[in-house]
Symmetry: D2
Subunit: 108 residues, 4 copies
Amino acid sequence: MTEPLDVAGLQRRLAEFAAARNWQPYHTPKNLVAALSVEASELVEIFQWLTPEESGRVMDDPDSAARVTDEVADVLAYLLQLCEVLGIDVLAALDAKIDRNERRFPAP
Amino acid sequence: MTEPLDVAGLQRRLAEFAAARNWQPYHTPKNLVAALSVEASELVEIFQWLTPEESGRVMDDPDSAARVTDEVADVLAYLLQLCEVLGIDVLAALDAKIDRNERRFPAP
Amino acid sequence: MTEPLDVAGLQRRLAEFAAARNWQPYHTPKNLVAALSVEASELVEIFQWLTPEESGRVMDDPDSAARVTDEVADVLAYLLQLCEVLGIDVLAALDAKIDRNERRFPAP
Amino acid sequence: MTEPLDVAGLQRRLAEFAAARNWQPYHTPKNLVAALSVEASELVEIFQWLTPEESGRVMDDPDSAARVTDEVADVLAYLLQLCEVLGIDVLAALDAKIDRNERRFPAP
């Protein structure tokens, strides 16, 4: 019953969730990237008028902490659904990207 | 030497990468959400003029497949760095969000 | 009393509106571009699950027409406030940009 | 030959530009809002690592001033094209929005 808390398990839950509601026709890559960017902007909205210092204390208030946590989950949800639809292994993609960045920006 | 390919391991690599370059002062939550939204938009840019059908074939072309994979990695990189800075367990956040969505949108 | 409906007049109204509420300290260029991108994403949200054809009929429904019109106004509001703060003549900027694009993309 | 520098004139130039290149099929409202949000994010990208103070000095450097001016023009270009396609009078929309905001946020 309980899926392990890893990316593959969450990806499976999200796919089953969408399939059970017949949402797959809406989940074109184009629509999923739009939804991903909208969720990322909802995160930006929380921070838009804050000073850098205030932004560092955003988790001190339970309401804004819950809001940020909720939006972070939404971003990951659309990112994992996009990768599922496109057949991208997102952890391998990030691992390879960090490798490239280590060559591109050598540590001093 | 090789970190396991899981979220915690990638999060650790990203934190070490930023620390080695003294980038932490730039990594306020406010700046990281801005960077996250910029990367999400770079994904949108790839798809903006495509029809829904063309968007479904984006991985068929090696160049656009590489570009999409690269941007997906950037989105995850900033999302994980944001969650690290804010102390959010992103997998638990998504798991809880799917639970809430299952109650909010009951399957037919 | 009635300002002329041109960009300069609207820009003046927006500046007076912000000044009367002491909002200028929040209106750094960095914050205004964030707010602008958030409003642009609220427009995207209206269209994110629509087919291209449905998106062309969005003004047929009075509710969605009002919502689109409202978000379009918000985008222009932040764009004009940003240009005011930065001293950019946005109409001249666009005119010059079209000139450049005419050279960059010659008509067939 | 020279169009007046007002919104209607720029909107006409943009429409003629797109028509001469047969770009109208791409200019669905859905695609135009995506392009608008992408351009807004390119503005955010310029500011993403700047402090509030640095963001206030962005026009002091000729290169970044040119870049900001260029992106501001792109945002207005897509906003005007969107309004053209949807039949929205963007200046009237903003005027009405400021009226509503004056009632919603009374000045102290």
